[in-house]
Subunit: 182 residues, 2 copies
DNA sequence: ATTGTGAGTAAGTGTTACTTACCCTATTGG
DNA sequence: CCAATAGGGTAAGTAACACTTACTCACAAT
């Protein structure tokens, strides 16, 4: 997994060969298949490991905030921060795994779903307490937020551009909470 | 290209073999390589074709709207509509091409960039005329809108779920323009 | 008449993900 | 104390696949 992560920082999943992974890890190709079902399984397990950290960190931070808006702001900021700090994880999650249907049956995707449920609860509570507009559709709000976060990271991951996390996260929060219309 | 498109409606890019494409098109494998550099090139050209239609339709519709907000609303609605009506195009654009760097050097990506520039101009004009808040960052606003659009389509493409275009597009527009905060 | 060109093919080739059958060493249970 | 077992590890495959090569045929232009 370490060797594979290293290679992922240099090139994309498909152009990494099993021979290369084995050589980097200083084992033989066959051994990889004692621990991983196939190459994709290796990808998913690396993602899983990173995702676990990511989720734990964010859920800790959320617990420190009281209002729904503050919690969502933390989610926006922390997500951007995590993506920026861990490009291999980002690359895998945002670019590599989605094109294969078996990802959506993997354990890694179960974590995504769990995370989504947590956020939806926060939004629903915000509507109940009157912090958010009563007509808000939680799923759509989450799609807007998550879509914005992920899209903001794409340029960084693909082209290696630097990302001003503070600027982008407050920018997203301003639009999502207060709207862009004057 | 037709044969390939047909196969794309059934399975993902990587699990389509050149032999299969050739058989479906009723030619030999070798002939594919007289017209396309490689399998990816075929993918990009199919995307290109669809993208051209997509862009032409939207730019026509934009021309009929006067205010910046109305134009952006048209973009949101039309994008969702196009993605929903053309799942192969959506699948290619949102899931298949992004994980390979050479897409970003392809002609198809040049169309994406051109489209982005058009939208950014609309946003900038909206700020000038006072329709949008003066502190709006055009790039971030576009990321929020595009991210929301693309994310809204993902469930549909991946799981084949139906998407209520009207509901989702007004939902996105409401949040983006008026904000979710009460 | 010759030459060139574009459509098309048959039969490769090298690479790659994955498999099989095997070895070696260390613990464990009788 | 020995045998059985199991786990870490390997070498040498194999099938499938993307892509190539070297060729044919038809036909249009010089």
């Amino acid at each position: 997994m370490k060797a594979f992560s290293l290679l992922m920082s240099e090139k994309d999943f498909h152009s990494i060969t099993t021979a290369e992974i084995a050589k980097t890890a200083e084992v033989t190709e066959g051994l990889i298949y004692k621990y991983f079902k196939d190459k994709k399984d290796l990808l998913y397990q690396v993602l899983n490991e990173h995702f676990f950290e990511f989720q734990a960190k964010i859920e800790n931070r959320i617990a420190n905030e009281k209002t729904c808006v503050e919690q969502l702001e933390v989610i926006i900021f922390s997500s951007l921060e995590s993506y920026a700090a861990n490009r291999i994880f980002s690359k895998i999650l945002l670019l590599e795994v989605r094109n294969s249907l078996d990802f959506f049956e993997s354990g890694a995707y179960e974590m995504v779903r769990k995370y989504t449920r947590t956020v939806l609860k926060i939004i629903e509570k915000g509507i109940e307490t009157g912090e958010l507009k009563p007509e808000t559709n939680p799923h759509i709000l989450w799609k807007v937020i998550l879509g914005a976060i992920e899209h903001a990271c794409l340029g960084e991951i693909i082209f290696g551009r630097e990302l001003d996390i503070d600027e982008v996260s407050t920018g997203i929060a301003n639009i999502v909470f207060s709207g862009a219309k004057a």
